[in-house]
Amino acid sequence: MPSFGFSVQPPQHIDLDKNYRAIFDFIKENEPSFQRCIYCGSCGATCSAGNFSQMSLRKVNLLISRGQISEVKNLIDNCLLCGKCQLVCPRNVNTRKVILLIHKALKMPLS
């Protein structure tokens, strides 16, 4: 193959037909309050780890719902489980349980 000096990029869009749903379904099943999230960002605004890193549970929940799992581990590893997000969530999502479930799901073999 000749050396072209450039390469064809795959599309960067989120494909909801082919996205990875296993973690989303796992959390929904084990913590139904996860479905109530409206991505308002109250959790991310108050996040202790958010002061020092890019962590925001809003962002993590959003990525999981769209199947964009690759960035989730780096973000969620910052979480200290301080529970401030649970105190402020206006939808009463059980955020600490969601975070523990995400950790568990990330260790599961890819289905």
């Binding site: 960067q12 869009h13 989120i14 494909d15 909801l16 037909d17 929904k28 139904p32 309050s33 479905q35 109530r36 409206i38 991505y39 959003l62 990525l63 719902s65 769209r66 964009q68 939808r91």
Partner: protein, 339 residues
């Protein structure tokens, strides 16, 4: 006894006519179609309590019975003002004299083919929220145009509203809660289906609306995605390929659905600007009739004796429309009893 013309026989016109008649006025309803009830005739069940629309119309019709002159299939083509009275010339040739006018011409739904990129009237599986309501009348599962069970349905908010390109900058107010209501109705009829709502903002402004939102998420697993639809295409199997922006993630989103529902907004009725012209009353830049002011005199217009009620002066829910109609009737009463 003063004689009042109520122009428009939808629920605003019917309620105003009932109240005026109870206040001992002589009332004529002038309705351009051949039935009363207006847009509500096309709805199935109403938010927030899922009460049947048919029941509301029947209750109003019962109260109207024998009290009011109903003129169907005709509209006002010319007006004259003489001696503090309005002379209306109707399209069927009649000429009637009235002491006051209540304009209740309501709204029409936005013609969705104007959003060319959404493929309405081009791809058969793109329908409007009004058409979906019609499908609800039978309690059967919702199918696509080619008779398959719809397993993946997307709703698009703000079609024809909040859109400067279309020329409608205003919000049509009730479409967000209608989308939530309709999404739940589809989920009930098509169990196991995946339903997405693509919104810019969610206007859950009234009592119980947030509860409906909560119920949609928790009971039916309906997915709410903040994002805008840019283009609809058809795949070789007649399913629709949607191109959207996922606003919160800031990335483009693509998905294939069986059915696409466009939440069409409200526009003033076709004859409303012409009617406003006939009575020399102003309309706003959004083409809805301008009331005297927005607080104390919402039903008065710049012309004494000409009143407006219901969606003719801007998008409203059914409850607000009926309250507005009652208020207009009372303003008519004040007009004759404070002079």
């Amino acid at each position: 006894m003063p004689r009042i013309a109520v122009i428009g026989g939808g629920i605003a016109g019917m309620e105003a006519a009932i109240r005026l008649s109870n206040l001992n006025f002589e009332v004529d309803i002038i309705e351009k179609s051949f039935s009363l009830g207006g847009n509500v005739n096309n709805w199935h069940v109403l938010f927030p309590d899922h009460s049947p629309a048919r029941l509301l119309i029947d209750q109003l019709k019962n109260q109207l019975r024998d009290k009011v002159n109903i003129l169907l299939g005709t509209e006002v083509v010319r007006t004259e003002y003489n001696n503090q009275q309005y002379i209306l010339h109707l399209s069927d040739g009649t000429r009637l004299t009235f002491d006051a006018i209540v304009i209740t011409t309501g709204f029409k739904v936005f013609p969705a083919q104007r959003k060319e990129e959404y493929g309405y009237s081009i791809y058969p599986n793109v329908i409007t929220s009004a058409q979906l309501e019609e499908l609800f009348q039978s309690e059967k599962p919702i199918h696509t145009a080619d008779h398959r069970m719809a397993n993946r349905i997307a709703f698009i908010h703000c079609v024809g509203s909040r859109d400067d390109k279309i020329g409608n900058r205003y919000c049509s107010k009730v479409c967000c809660v209608t989308a939530v209501k309709q999404a739940m109705e589809v989920a009930q009829r098509n169990p196991g289906s995946e339903i997405f709502l693509f919104y810019m903002d969610l206007r859950m402004y009234d009592r119980h609306f947030e509860d409906l939102y909560f119920q949609a998420q928790t009971q039916y697993g309906i997915r709410f995605v903040r994002g805008r639809l840019s283009e609809v295409s058809e795949k070789s199997d007649a399913r629709l390929y949607l191109k959207l922006e996922d606003t919160l993630l800031g990335k483009p989103l693509r998905l294939t659905v069986d059915l696409l529902v466009l939440m069409v907004g409200m526009e003033p009725a076709d004859n409303s600007p012409q009617l406003a012209n006939l009575f020399s009353i102003p309309v706003g830049t959004d083409r809805f009739i301008q009331p005297e002011n927005f607080h104390l005199y919402k039903n008065r217009t710049s012309r004494p004796g000409v009143f407006v009620a219901g969606c003719a002066s801007g998008p409203k829910s059914i409850g607000e429309t009926l309250a507005d109609a009652r208020s207009a009737a009372f303003e008519v009463y004040n007009f004759f009893n404070n002079n």
